[in-house]
Protein backbone atom coordinates (compact mmCIF):
# COMPACT_ATOMS: atom_id res chain seq x y z
CA UNK A 1 0.00 0.00 0.00
CA UNK A 2 2.73 2.44 1.04
CA UNK A 3 4.74 1.49 -2.02
CA UNK A 4 1.68 2.18 -4.20
CA UNK A 5 1.13 5.58 -2.56
CA UNK A 6 4.79 6.48 -2.96
CA UNK A 7 4.62 5.58 -6.64
CA UNK A 8 1.48 7.66 -7.13
CA UNK A 9 3.08 10.61 -5.34
CA UNK A 10 6.26 10.32 -7.43
CA UNK A 11 4.15 10.28 -10.60
CA UNK A 12 2.18 13.32 -9.51
CA UNK A 13 5.37 15.23 -8.64
CA UNK A 14 6.93 14.31 -11.98
CA UNK A 15 3.79 15.52 -13.78
CA UNK A 16 3.87 18.77 -11.81
CA UNK A 17 7.54 19.37 -12.59
CA UNK A 18 6.97 18.67 -16.28
CA UNK A 19 3.98 21.03 -16.30
CA UNK A 20 6.05 23.76 -14.63
CA UNK A 21 8.87 23.25 -17.13
CA UNK A 22 6.42 23.42 -20.03
CA UNK A 23 4.82 26.60 -18.72
CA UNK A 24 8.10 28.41 -18.09
CA UNK A 25 9.97 27.43 -21.26
CA UNK A 26 10.69 30.68 -23.09
CA UNK A 27 9.45 30.74 -26.68
CA UNK A 28 11.69 31.18 -29.70
CA UNK A 29 10.77 34.84 -30.03
CA UNK A 30 11.70 35.46 -26.39
CA UNK A 31 15.04 33.64 -26.65
CA UNK A 32 15.99 35.56 -29.80
CA UNK A 33 14.29 38.80 -28.72
CA UNK A 34 15.80 42.11 -27.63
CA UNK A 35 18.53 42.20 -24.99
CA UNK A 36 17.27 44.71 -22.48
CA UNK A 37 19.66 47.19 -20.94
CA UNK A 38 18.17 49.24 -18.15
CA UNK A 39 18.90 52.84 -17.40
CA UNK A 40 17.34 55.98 -16.06
CA UNK A 41 16.69 59.37 -17.65
CA UNK A 42 19.48 61.88 -17.07
CA UNK A 43 22.42 59.52 -17.44
CA UNK A 44 24.07 58.41 -20.68
CA UNK A 45 23.57 54.72 -21.46
CA UNK A 46 25.75 52.89 -23.94
CA UNK A 47 24.28 50.03 -25.92
CA UNK A 48 25.95 47.84 -28.53
CA UNK A 49 25.75 50.38 -31.33
CA UNK A 50 24.83 53.73 -29.81
CA UNK A 51 24.85 55.94 -26.72
CA UNK A 52 21.74 57.74 -25.59
CA UNK A 53 20.86 60.19 -22.83
CA UNK A 54 17.30 61.30 -22.14
CA UNK A 55 17.38 64.87 -20.84
CA UNK A 56 13.71 65.38 -20.14
CA UNK A 57 10.21 64.58 -21.28
CA UNK A 58 7.59 67.25 -21.96
CA UNK A 59 3.92 66.32 -21.89
CA UNK A 60 1.72 68.59 -24.01
CA UNK A 61 -1.83 68.89 -25.28
CA UNK A 62 -0.84 70.41 -28.63
CA UNK A 63 2.31 70.47 -30.75
CA UNK A 64 3.35 73.20 -33.11
CA UNK A 65 6.26 73.35 -35.53
CA UNK A 66 7.40 74.82 -38.84
CA UNK A 67 8.30 72.65 -41.79
CA UNK A 68 8.19 72.88 -45.59
CA UNK A 69 7.37 76.58 -45.36
CA UNK A 70 4.19 76.17 -43.37
CA UNK A 71 3.27 75.72 -39.76
CA UNK A 72 1.84 72.52 -38.36
CA UNK A 73 -0.52 72.41 -35.40
CA UNK A 74 -1.44 68.98 -34.11
CA UNK A 75 -3.81 68.05 -31.32
CA UNK A 76 -4.41 64.54 -30.03
CA UNK A 77 -7.02 62.36 -28.38
CA UNK A 78 -4.50 61.61 -25.64
CA UNK A 79 -1.31 63.46 -24.79
CA UNK A 80 1.86 64.29 -26.67
CA UNK A 81 5.04 63.11 -24.96
CA UNK A 82 8.20 64.66 -26.36
CA UNK A 83 11.48 63.20 -25.13
CA UNK A 84 14.52 65.43 -25.57
CA UNK A 85 17.47 63.11 -26.07
CA UNK A 86 21.12 63.27 -27.00
CA UNK A 87 22.44 60.36 -29.05
CA UNK A 88 25.52 59.30 -30.94
CA UNK A 89 26.59 56.17 -32.78
CA UNK A 90 29.29 54.16 -31.01
CA UNK A 91 31.51 52.91 -32.52
CA UNK A 92 30.07 53.48 -36.02
CA UNK A 93 27.44 55.54 -37.79
CA UNK A 94 23.94 54.28 -37.09
CA UNK A 95 20.31 55.33 -36.81
CA UNK A 96 17.63 54.63 -34.26
CA UNK A 97 14.56 53.06 -35.84
CA UNK A 98 12.96 51.65 -32.70
CA UNK A 99 11.48 54.08 -30.20
CA UNK A 100 8.55 53.02 -28.05
CA UNK A 101 6.86 54.48 -24.99
CA UNK A 102 6.15 51.61 -22.62
CA UNK A 103 3.31 52.49 -20.26
CA UNK A 104 3.12 51.11 -16.75
CA UNK A 105 0.07 49.11 -17.87
CA UNK A 106 2.16 47.38 -20.57
CA UNK A 107 0.77 49.30 -23.57
CA UNK A 108 3.39 50.12 -26.22
CA UNK A 109 3.12 53.42 -28.05
CA UNK A 110 5.49 53.63 -31.01
CA UNK A 111 6.99 56.98 -31.96
CA UNK A 112 4.22 58.86 -33.76
CA UNK A 113 4.41 59.29 -37.51
CA UNK A 114 2.16 62.34 -37.22
CA UNK A 115 5.08 64.54 -36.13
CA UNK A 116 7.69 63.15 -38.50
CA UNK A 117 8.18 66.40 -40.36
CA UNK A 118 9.35 68.24 -37.23
CA UNK A 119 12.97 69.32 -37.58
CA UNK A 120 14.32 67.65 -34.45
CA UNK A 121 12.63 64.31 -35.12
CA UNK A 122 15.40 61.84 -34.31
CA UNK A 123 13.97 58.48 -35.31
CA UNK A 124 15.69 57.21 -38.42
CA UNK A 125 18.15 60.11 -38.49
CA UNK A 126 21.87 59.43 -39.06
CA UNK A 127 23.96 59.44 -35.87
CA UNK A 128 27.72 59.81 -36.25
CA UNK A 129 30.30 58.62 -33.72
CA UNK A 130 31.86 61.45 -31.76
CA UNK A 131 29.17 63.95 -32.85
CA UNK A 132 26.42 63.72 -30.25
CA UNK A 133 23.13 65.00 -31.67
CA UNK A 134 20.22 66.44 -29.77
CA UNK A 135 16.85 65.42 -31.05
CA UNK A 136 13.27 64.59 -30.21
CA UNK A 137 11.45 61.32 -29.85
CA UNK A 138 7.76 62.17 -30.15
CA UNK A 139 5.00 59.91 -28.88
CA UNK A 140 1.24 60.11 -28.81
CA UNK A 141 0.16 58.37 -25.63
CA UNK A 142 -2.95 57.76 -23.58
CA UNK A 143 -3.57 60.10 -20.65
CA UNK A 144 -3.13 57.34 -18.08
CA UNK A 145 0.15 56.20 -19.68
CA UNK A 146 2.03 59.40 -18.85
CA UNK A 147 3.34 58.47 -15.40
CA UNK A 148 5.72 55.66 -14.48
CA UNK A 149 6.43 54.97 -18.14
CA UNK A 150 9.70 53.95 -19.77
CA UNK A 151 11.33 54.49 -23.14
CA UNK A 152 12.43 51.53 -25.25
CA UNK A 153 15.07 52.56 -27.79
CA UNK A 154 16.86 50.30 -30.27
CA UNK A 155 18.62 50.45 -33.63
CA UNK A 156 16.13 48.12 -35.34
CA UNK A 157 12.41 48.64 -35.11
CA UNK A 158 12.01 45.05 -33.90
CA UNK A 159 15.41 44.22 -32.39
CA UNK A 160 16.49 40.56 -32.46
CA UNK A 161 19.42 39.60 -30.27
CA UNK A 162 20.40 43.24 -30.05
CA UNK A 163 20.46 45.98 -27.43
CA UNK A 164 17.22 47.62 -26.45
CA UNK A 165 17.61 50.41 -23.93
CA UNK A 166 14.86 50.57 -21.35
CA UNK A 167 15.01 54.00 -19.80
CA UNK A 168 12.93 54.69 -16.71
CA UNK A 169 11.41 58.17 -16.52
CA UNK A 170 11.28 59.54 -12.96
CA UNK A 171 8.73 62.28 -12.28
CA UNK A 172 11.36 65.01 -11.82
CA UNK A 173 12.37 64.60 -15.49
CA UNK A 174 8.82 65.16 -16.73
CA UNK A 175 7.53 68.64 -17.56
CA UNK A 176 4.06 69.81 -18.54
CA UNK A 177 3.01 72.25 -21.23
CA UNK A 178 -0.27 73.30 -22.81
CA UNK A 179 1.00 74.00 -26.32
CA UNK A 180 4.56 72.99 -27.11
CA UNK A 181 6.47 74.68 -29.92
CA UNK A 182 9.02 72.12 -31.07
CA UNK A 183 11.20 74.75 -32.76
CA UNK A 184 11.82 76.60 -29.49
CA UNK A 185 12.25 73.52 -27.34
CA UNK A 186 15.44 73.83 -25.31
Amino acid sequence: MIRFLARAAALAIAALILFALQQTTPGYSEITGPITQRGVAGTAITGRGFTLRVEKVVLAERLRWQAFGRSYDRDTGGLWAVAVVEAEGTPATTALSGATWLAASGLRFEASQRAESARGFLRGKRLEPGLPQRGLLIFEIGRDAARRGALLVSEARWPRLDTQLRIALPDDRIEQAETLDLDTLK
Binding site: G27, Y28, R74, L107, R108, S112, R114
Partner: protein
Amino acid sequence: MATMAFAALRRSLASKLTIGIGGLLALGLTTAQTFREAMPPARLPIAQAGQPIDAGRWQIVIREAGLSSAPRPDGYRGRPGTKALSVDLDLTNRSSESSNAVARLLSFDPPITGLSPWPTAYLLRDGAILGSLQPGLPERIRMVWDLPEAAPAPEAIRVVITGETFKPRDNLLAAPGWFNPKPVAAITLLLRPVPARTGS
Protein backbone atom coordinates in the same frame (compact mmCIF):
# COMPACT_ATOMS: atom_id res chain seq x y z
CA MET B 1 -0.44 -25.08 -29.18
CA ALA B 2 -2.65 -24.28 -32.12
CA THR B 3 -5.39 -22.82 -29.91
CA MET B 4 -2.85 -20.54 -28.19
CA ALA B 5 -1.59 -19.25 -31.51
CA PHE B 6 -5.16 -18.74 -32.64
CA ALA B 7 -6.00 -16.78 -29.47
CA ALA B 8 -2.92 -14.57 -29.93
CA LEU B 9 -3.91 -13.92 -33.53
CA ARG B 10 -7.43 -12.99 -32.47
CA ARG B 11 -6.10 -10.64 -29.77
CA SER B 12 -3.77 -8.87 -32.17
CA LEU B 13 -6.55 -8.60 -34.74
CA ALA B 14 -8.90 -7.11 -32.14
CA SER B 15 -6.31 -4.57 -30.97
CA LYS B 16 -5.44 -3.60 -34.54
CA LEU B 17 -9.12 -3.14 -35.32
CA THR B 18 -9.59 -0.96 -32.23
CA ILE B 19 -6.59 1.19 -33.11
CA GLY B 20 -7.76 1.48 -36.71
CA ILE B 21 -11.32 2.45 -35.83
CA GLY B 22 -10.15 4.88 -33.16
CA GLY B 23 -7.68 6.48 -35.52
CA LEU B 24 -10.24 6.82 -38.27
CA LEU B 25 -12.74 8.33 -35.83
CA ALA B 26 -10.16 10.87 -34.62
CA LEU B 27 -9.22 11.72 -38.21
CA GLY B 28 -12.87 12.13 -39.17
CA LEU B 29 -13.59 14.33 -36.17
CA THR B 30 -10.63 16.65 -36.77
CA THR B 31 -11.43 16.86 -40.48
CA ALA B 32 -15.03 17.76 -39.74
CA GLN B 33 -13.86 20.36 -37.22
CA THR B 34 -11.43 21.87 -39.74
CA PHE B 35 -14.17 22.11 -42.35
CA ARG B 36 -16.58 23.65 -39.88
CA GLU B 37 -14.05 26.26 -38.78
CA ALA B 38 -13.09 27.10 -42.35
CA MET B 39 -16.70 27.71 -43.37
CA PRO B 40 -17.92 31.29 -43.27
CA PRO B 41 -20.71 31.74 -40.75
CA ALA B 42 -24.04 31.15 -42.45
CA ARG B 43 -25.50 34.50 -41.44
CA LEU B 44 -23.32 37.46 -40.59
CA PRO B 45 -24.61 39.75 -37.86
CA ILE B 46 -26.07 42.89 -39.42
CA ALA B 47 -24.59 46.07 -37.99
CA GLN B 48 -26.01 49.58 -38.13
CA ALA B 49 -24.16 52.80 -38.82
CA GLY B 50 -22.97 54.24 -35.50
CA GLN B 51 -22.92 50.90 -33.74
CA PRO B 52 -19.59 49.69 -32.30
CA ILE B 53 -18.37 46.44 -33.87
CA ASP B 54 -15.79 44.28 -32.14
CA ALA B 55 -13.33 42.97 -34.75
CA GLY B 56 -10.54 41.58 -32.59
CA ARG B 57 -7.68 44.04 -32.81
CA TRP B 58 -10.03 46.89 -33.76
CA GLN B 59 -13.23 48.35 -32.51
CA ILE B 60 -15.03 49.87 -35.45
CA VAL B 61 -17.89 52.30 -35.71
CA ILE B 62 -18.94 52.78 -39.33
CA ARG B 63 -20.30 56.26 -39.93
CA GLU B 64 -21.12 56.77 -43.60
CA ALA B 65 -20.08 56.02 -47.14
CA GLY B 66 -19.79 58.33 -50.08
CA LEU B 67 -18.85 58.60 -53.72
CA SER B 68 -17.32 61.80 -55.05
CA SER B 69 -14.62 63.30 -57.20
CA ALA B 70 -13.84 66.06 -54.70
CA PRO B 71 -10.27 66.25 -53.34
CA ARG B 72 -9.35 63.79 -50.65
CA PRO B 73 -8.60 64.94 -47.08
CA ASP B 74 -4.98 65.72 -48.00
CA GLY B 75 -5.96 67.65 -51.11
CA TYR B 76 -5.06 64.90 -53.60
CA ARG B 77 -7.60 64.63 -56.42
CA GLY B 78 -6.93 61.01 -57.26
CA ARG B 79 -5.62 59.62 -60.53
CA PRO B 80 -7.25 61.20 -63.59
CA GLY B 81 -10.35 59.33 -64.66
CA THR B 82 -11.15 57.99 -61.21
CA LYS B 83 -13.54 58.96 -58.48
CA ALA B 84 -13.27 58.08 -54.83
CA LEU B 85 -15.45 55.62 -52.94
CA SER B 86 -15.00 56.44 -49.29
CA VAL B 87 -16.12 54.98 -45.97
CA ASP B 88 -15.87 57.07 -42.79
CA LEU B 89 -15.33 55.16 -39.58
CA ASP B 90 -14.11 55.49 -36.01
CA LEU B 91 -11.29 53.08 -35.21
CA THR B 92 -9.95 52.15 -31.80
CA ASN B 93 -6.87 49.98 -31.43
CA ARG B 94 -7.79 47.37 -28.81
CA SER B 95 -4.41 45.63 -28.88
CA SER B 96 -1.48 46.53 -26.66
CA GLU B 97 0.72 48.11 -29.33
CA SER B 98 0.61 50.65 -32.14
CA SER B 99 -0.68 49.21 -35.39
CA ASN B 100 -1.50 50.22 -38.94
CA ALA B 101 -2.99 46.90 -40.11
CA VAL B 102 -6.21 48.41 -41.41
CA ALA B 103 -6.03 47.68 -45.15
CA ARG B 104 -7.91 44.37 -45.01
CA LEU B 105 -10.47 45.46 -42.45
CA LEU B 106 -13.28 46.25 -44.89
CA SER B 107 -14.33 44.46 -48.06
CA PHE B 108 -17.33 44.68 -50.34
CA ASP B 109 -19.80 41.88 -50.85
CA PRO B 110 -21.03 41.76 -53.58
CA PRO B 111 -17.72 43.04 -55.01
CA ILE B 112 -17.72 46.33 -56.92
CA THR B 113 -16.20 45.98 -60.39
CA GLY B 114 -13.23 48.19 -61.16
CA LEU B 115 -12.52 49.05 -57.53
CA SER B 116 -8.87 49.34 -56.46
CA PRO B 117 -7.91 46.33 -54.34
CA TRP B 118 -6.68 48.22 -51.27
CA PRO B 119 -7.91 51.45 -49.73
CA THR B 120 -5.87 54.46 -48.72
CA ALA B 121 -6.66 55.44 -45.14
CA TYR B 122 -6.72 59.07 -44.06
CA LEU B 123 -6.61 60.43 -40.55
CA LEU B 124 -9.32 63.12 -40.61
CA ARG B 125 -7.85 64.88 -37.55
CA ASP B 126 -4.77 65.82 -39.61
CA GLY B 127 -6.12 65.53 -43.15
CA ALA B 128 -3.15 63.28 -43.86
CA ILE B 129 -2.44 59.68 -44.75
CA LEU B 130 -2.86 57.48 -41.69
CA GLY B 131 0.26 56.20 -39.95
CA SER B 132 -0.16 53.94 -36.97
CA LEU B 133 -3.04 54.06 -34.55
CA GLN B 134 -2.02 54.11 -30.89
CA PRO B 135 -3.61 51.66 -28.46
CA GLY B 136 -6.76 52.96 -26.80
CA LEU B 137 -6.90 56.25 -28.70
CA PRO B 138 -9.94 56.33 -31.03
CA GLU B 139 -9.64 58.25 -34.29
CA ARG B 140 -11.95 59.20 -37.16
CA ILE B 141 -10.64 57.58 -40.34
CA ARG B 142 -11.65 57.86 -43.98
CA MET B 143 -10.85 54.89 -46.20
CA VAL B 144 -10.77 55.70 -49.90
CA TRP B 145 -10.89 53.32 -52.86
CA ASP B 146 -10.35 54.33 -56.49
CA LEU B 147 -13.26 53.70 -58.83
CA PRO B 148 -13.07 54.41 -62.59
CA GLU B 149 -15.16 57.41 -63.60
CA ALA B 150 -17.01 55.29 -66.17
CA ALA B 151 -17.92 52.50 -63.74
CA PRO B 152 -21.61 52.37 -62.81
CA ALA B 153 -22.12 53.82 -59.34
CA PRO B 154 -23.98 51.53 -56.98
CA GLU B 155 -26.71 53.15 -54.91
CA ALA B 156 -25.87 51.16 -51.80
CA ILE B 157 -22.90 49.06 -50.80
CA ARG B 158 -22.64 46.11 -48.47
CA VAL B 159 -19.46 46.28 -46.40
CA VAL B 160 -18.13 43.17 -44.67
CA ILE B 161 -15.93 43.73 -41.62
CA THR B 162 -13.10 41.26 -41.06
CA GLY B 163 -11.95 40.45 -37.54
CA GLU B 164 -8.94 38.55 -36.26
CA THR B 165 -8.28 36.54 -33.12
CA PHE B 166 -5.37 36.95 -30.73
CA LYS B 167 -2.91 34.12 -30.17
CA PRO B 168 -0.51 34.58 -27.25
CA ARG B 169 1.92 32.16 -28.94
CA ASP B 170 1.78 31.49 -32.66
CA ASN B 171 2.83 28.17 -34.16
CA LEU B 172 5.99 29.37 -35.89
CA LEU B 173 7.86 31.68 -33.52
CA ALA B 174 5.81 31.35 -30.32
CA ALA B 175 5.25 35.08 -30.53
CA PRO B 176 1.95 36.86 -29.81
CA GLY B 177 -0.04 38.02 -32.80
CA TRP B 178 -3.39 38.39 -34.55
CA PHE B 179 -4.46 35.57 -36.86
CA ASN B 180 -7.34 33.83 -38.65
CA PRO B 181 -9.13 36.70 -40.35
CA LYS B 182 -12.87 36.07 -40.50
CA PRO B 183 -15.91 38.16 -41.38
CA VAL B 184 -17.56 39.31 -38.17
CA ALA B 185 -20.32 41.65 -39.35
CA ALA B 186 -21.89 43.20 -42.41
CA ILE B 187 -23.42 46.59 -42.91
CA THR B 188 -25.36 48.10 -45.80
CA LEU B 189 -24.69 51.76 -46.48
CA LEU B 190 -26.24 54.25 -48.87
CA LEU B 191 -23.72 56.20 -50.93
CA ARG B 192 -23.98 59.94 -50.57
CA PRO B 193 -21.84 62.68 -52.08
CA VAL B 194 -19.02 63.60 -49.71
CA PRO B 195 -18.31 67.27 -49.05
CA ALA B 196 -14.72 68.27 -49.69
CA ARG B 197 -12.60 68.70 -46.59
CA THR B 198 -9.09 70.01 -46.49
CA GLY B 199 -6.58 69.37 -43.76
CA SER B 200 -4.93 71.89 -41.50
